[in-house]
Structures are given as structure tokens and as C-alpha cells.
């Protein structure tokens, strides 16, 4: 039995079907990226898992039990939701003290998690004075308070600056390395790609793909090509004029969905000298875009998970 099991989950709000027949697992010791564009149904799924919304059909369980059936839930599951909020007049330490009393954890544990998230020096200040990064750290501290074996993180990097994102990434990897099952939702694919082992991709409430990162990254589409050239702007315009999609990253151009050989021929025809050309596997971004568009075929299931 996987620590997190979602089976044929459906959630309907009036006439809107936010999630439809969704099934996947989250395994221990692995970080599972739960990806999809805004409005895909990620938060609804996580909230159904955490007992905050009632599923219309299907189940979402932790070790076979619904969240509200867990004895001292904070010792099983730690969750950071997108709208993590704190009473503005209550200090970070007192926020954690309240949770510690509710969950039956010691006050020493409060000090420990404050130390873990590097918030000890600001712990006695009212939460209304906290920056976005500090609030996110406090939310993480709340989730870690019961030393749970499962972590659910909903868009945890939203609003964080680059050091904050790097900190979050490292923390997530560390938790998985300690054997925890981590489910992390995001629409910021580039950030998640470096942290996750498995991915579950949904769009419009439906599963699009699931499997290991490699499995979903792979696929049978034409690879993209990375190039550098002195006349990079002219080359980019020429490619776009010819109907190709390109992404510019500094002095490097990523030509999406075109093999290196074709790009080389195109450069020769345009009289552009390339200083670097290399095939690049389909990026998660590309896979994501392909998978979250209007479905032209049944959902892909490249992985064995679920």
C-alpha cells in the first residue's frame, strides 16, 4: 500500500467538474511532482486528499485511511497549502505552540522546527511582519512539527525569491532522502524538474501522464535542438518566420521539435554560422505543453505507477 493513494477521484462543483477519475500513488523516499496549468485541478485534488473538500466520487487516502480518520494527523501528514495564513497578531513561535498543543507535540519540538527552517531569530515577532519567504518557512515548520512521513506541498515556491526557491528545493530533496513521501504541486515546471523523481501531469481535471521523470521526459516526439551563433537574433527571426518555435536563453537558442540535422541545414541555407549545435531531449516544459493541450488522444500512461 502506497503512503498516498488516489483512486478514481472526482470532484464536481455545481456544473464544473474540477477533477475527473484521477488515480495515482506517491511512493516513500521519492518526490512526486504534481503538475498542471493553473485551474487544472491540482489544489482541489490536494484539498480532497486532506479532507478539506468532499470528493464527489472516488477515494484519496493516506496508508489506506482518509485524512480525518488519522489519529494525530500531524504525525502522519504535513501539509503546506497555497493559501497558508497565520493570525497577524500571533508570533511564529506561538502559532507553532498552538499546533504543538493540538497535535500533542513537545515545546522542544517547536524550537527544533524553528531551527530547521532558520526562523529562530524572528520567531517571537508577530506574523504580520513576516516576508513571503518567512511565511513560507513558518508554513513548512508547521508541516514538519509532527515529523510526518508524508509531505504535501501545494505550490510551495510561489512568491519566493531565487534563494528561497533553492532552499525549498534542497529541503524537499532532503525530506525524500530521509525516506518521506513528498507530493509537490506546481505550475512552475522549471523549478520542479530539478527536485522531482516522479511526475503526475493533469489538465482540466484529468490525468495526462504519470511516471518517472525520465519516462515522461522521453517519448516519441522529435527532439529539440540547442544552438549558439554570432547572429543569433537573425537566426531566431528566420526560424520563427519559417514557422518554428524557439526559446531564447541568453546567447543560446532552443529550437523546439526540430532535429539537429534539420537545424544545421536551415542555418546553412540562411548563411548563419553556428558556433554550437546539440540535440536536446524533450524538456519537461515541452512534454508539459504537449500533454496539457487539448487532448487529441487518450491520456498517456508511460509509467507503471498507479
Amino acid at each position: 500500500m502506497a503512503p498516498v493513494e488516489i483512486r478514481e477521484l472526482t470532484k464536481r462543483f455545481a456544473s464544473v467538474e474540477a477533477v475527473k477519475d484521477l488515480s495515482f500513488d506517491v511512493e516513500p523516499g521519492r518526490v512526486t511532482g504534481f503538475l498542471g496549468p493553473n485551474g487544472a485541478g491540482k489544489s482541489t485534488t490536494l484539498r480532497a486528499l486532506l479532507g478539506l473538500v468532499r470528493p464527489t466520487a472516488g477515494t484519496a487516502t493516506f496508508d489506506g485511511r482518509q485524512y480525518e480518520q488519522l489519529e494525530r494527523p500531524s504525525t502522519h501528514v504535513g501539509a503546506v497549502l497555497e493559501d497558508a495564513a497565520f493570525h497577524p497578531g500571533r508570533s511564529g513561535r506561538n502559532h507553532l505552540r498552538v499546533l504543538a498543543v493540538t497535535g500533542g507535540h513537545s515545546q522542544r519540538r517547536v524550537d527544533e522546527v524553528l531551527e530547521t527552517v532558520d526562523l529562530t531569530s524572528a520567531a517571537d515577532r508577530p506574523a504580520k511582519g513576516y516576508s513571503m519567504g518567512m511565511r513560507q518557512r513558518l508554513a513548512i515548520a508547521s508541516a514538519l512539527l509532527g515529523d510526518p512521513q508524508i509531505l504535501i506541498l501545494d505550490e510551495p515556491t510561489n512568491g519566493l525569491d531565487p534563494p528561497g526557491i533553492a532552499w525549498m528545493r534542497e529541503l524537499v530533496r532532503r525530506q525524500a532522502a530521509d525516506g518521506r513521501a513528498v507530493l509537490i504541486s506546481s505550475h512552475l515546471l522549471a523549478e520542479v524538474a530539478q527536485s522531482v523523481d516522479d511526475v503526475v501531469i493533469i489538465a482540466k481535471g484529468r490525468l495526462r501522464a504519470r511516471g518517472t521523470l525520465e519516462q515522461v521526459l522521453g517519448g516519441d516526439e522529435v527532439a529539440s535542438t540547442e544552438v549558439r551563433a554570432r547572429e543569433i537574433d537573425r537566426f531566431a527571426h528566420a526560424l520563427e518566420a519559417a514557422g518554428h518555435r524557439v526559446e531564447r536563453n541568453g546567447d543560446t537558442l532552443l529550437v523546439l521539435g526540430v532535429a539537429a540535422e534539420q537545424v544545421g541545414e536551415f542555418a546553412t541555407r540562411e548563411g548563419v554560422t553556428l558556433s554550437y549545435i546539440a540535440p536536446r531531449g524533450r524538456s519537461l516544459e515541452t512534454a508539459f505543453l504537449a500533454l496539457t493541450g487539448e487532448p487529441e488522444s487518450p491520456p498517456a500512461d508511460p509509467g507503471a505507477a498507479g
Binding site: F13, S43, T44, R47, L50, G51, L52, V53, R54, Y67, E68, L70, P73, S74, A79, L81, D83, A84, A85, F86, H87, P88, G89, R90, S91, N94, R97, V98, L99, V101, T102, G103, G104, S142
Partner: protein, 243 residues
């Protein structure tokens, strides 16, 4: 349940709201008592006793109870609260008990303070004083009313999530609807939960010449209101999706 109750009491202690409301209730109640004692002529024994029912803690604890639950939505802390305590019925019960206890504590502070100051002033002014047994009788009634209103406030705050609407609503009912109703139709109005049934417990007769509810009946009426609103609030909390 005891952990949830302790957590709710800790929540109360870790913001300034409770202290501010105690201070406001204390100052207002003391001011009223001092003005009544200094500006009035001689009192009958019953009038002297009624001075110490000028305990504004009831109104403040009602507001505090409303804030105790509606504030969870206002500050968007309800999600975290439900994650920590997913059994919503138990959470509501803990909040009701916590705010009943807070109401009794607030009333204890205020009532003892106004009794000390009021009795001293009555002695200095050489007016009719109130004996210990009568003071004790007023004290338990004030405490009971504050406890019941604290519990009622939580239920109201759970039903009307908009804090401003809830607070303005109870003020209008307390100061306009119930006084008007008990004046126009005392047989109906005396069952009002925010003013008239509490007056029955305290044993005072405001806004009507009719006798208020007997204290035991008034307590049952209050418990009935709390039970009904608790059931409605519990049903609302149970069925509500937090999106």
C-alpha cells in the same frame, strides 16, 4: 478533546484581542458603576444590588466568541485549523467550551472589580450597601450569563462568517430588536437570547414591566438557543468545502 480545548485557550492568550476586550469591559463597567453611585440619590437594597449587574463583559464576550470562529475565516487560518483538527464537530465543541470558559473568566475579573470599587464608593457615600451573600448571588449569575453568551457567540460566528455582519447583527438585536420586542410582545420577547433571557438569569427587568423569565427557565432557554445554533453551525461546518 482536552488538547483541542487547551489549544483554543492558548490561541486566546496569544493575541491581544482578549486582553483588549477585558480592559474595555472593565473600564466601561467601572465607569457606569461609579457614575450610578455618585450621581444617584439613596438606593433601595434591590437597586443597590442591580448596580453590580452593570457588567459589560457579557456583550464583550459575545463579540469575542463571534471573533473566535468568524476570525478563522477573516484571517484565512481556518484551513490550518481544520488540518490540525480535521474532526470539525470536536473542533466546534472545543471552541464553544473555550469561549464559555473565557466568558466566565472575563466576567469574574470585571464583576469582582466593580463589586470592590462600587462597595467602597457606597460606603464612602454612606448609601445602602450590598451584603456578601447578595454579591455572591450576583457573581454566579453574571458568570453564567457570560459563559453562555461566549458559547452562543462562537455558534453565531460559525454561521455568519462575515465578522462585521455578525457583530453589527448582534448589536442590533441586543439594543434594538430585543428591547422593542419585549416592550411590544413580552411573552415572546422574554425568550430573546442576547438580552432578555440573560436578564432572566440575572434577575433584572429591563424594558418591560412584565416579570422576566424564571432563572431556571432562562438557563434552559439559553441552552436551547445554543443547542439549536450549535447544530446549525455543526451542519454548516461539516458540509462546507474549503476551496
Amino acid at each position: 478533546m482536552s488538547a483541542l480545548l487547551r489549544a483554543e485557550l492558548l490561541k486566546l492568550r496569544t493575541t491581544r484581542t482578549f486582553v483588549a476586550l477585558v480592559a474595555a469591559a472593565l473600564l466601561l463597567s467601572l465607569l457606569i458603576v461609579v457614575l450610578i453611585v455618585l450621581l444617584s440619590d439613596e438606593f433601595s437594597k434591590q437597586e443597590a444590588r442591580e448596580i453590580f449587574t452593570s457588567d459589560f463583559s457579557s456583550l464583550f464576550i459575545l463579540v469575542l466568541g463571534i471573533m473566535g470562529l468568524s476570525g478563522e475565516w477573516r484571517h484565512r487560518t481556518i484551513t490550518g485549523t481544520f488540518l490540525a483538527a480535521p474532526e470539525r464537530m470536536r473542533l466546534l465543541t472545543a471552541k464553544v467550551l473555550a469561549y464559555a470558559a473565557a466568558g466566565a473568566l472575563l466576567s469574574l475579573i470585571v464583576t469582582l472589580s466593580i463589586m470592590a470599587v462600587g462597595s467602597l464608593l457606597l460606603s464612602i457615600e454612606d448609601k445602602t450597601t450590598v451584603g456578601i451573600s447578595d454579591l455572591a448571588d450576583v457573581l454566579w449569575r453574571n458568570l453564567l450569563v457570560a459563559a453562555l453568551l461566549g458559547a452562543l457567540g462562537v455558534c453565531i460566528g460559525g454561521l455568519l462568517r462575515n465578522q462585521v455582519v455578525a457583530i453589527v447583527g448582534v448589536l442590533v438585536v441586543s439594543f434594538v430588536v430585543e428591547p422593542t420586542l419585549v416592550g411590544l410582545a413580552p411573552d415572546v420577547g422574554k425568550y430573546g437570547p442576547l438580552l432578555n433571557a440573560p436578564n432572566g438569569i440575572i434577575g433584572i427587568n429591563a424594558f418591560s414591566d412584565d416579570k422576566p423569565l424564571d432563572e431556571a427557565v432562562a438557563v434552559l432557554v439559553m441552552l436551547g438557543w445554543i443547542g439549536a445554533l450549535f447544530a446549525l453551525t455543526a451542519q454548516t461546518l461539516r458540509s462546507r468545502d474549503l476551496v
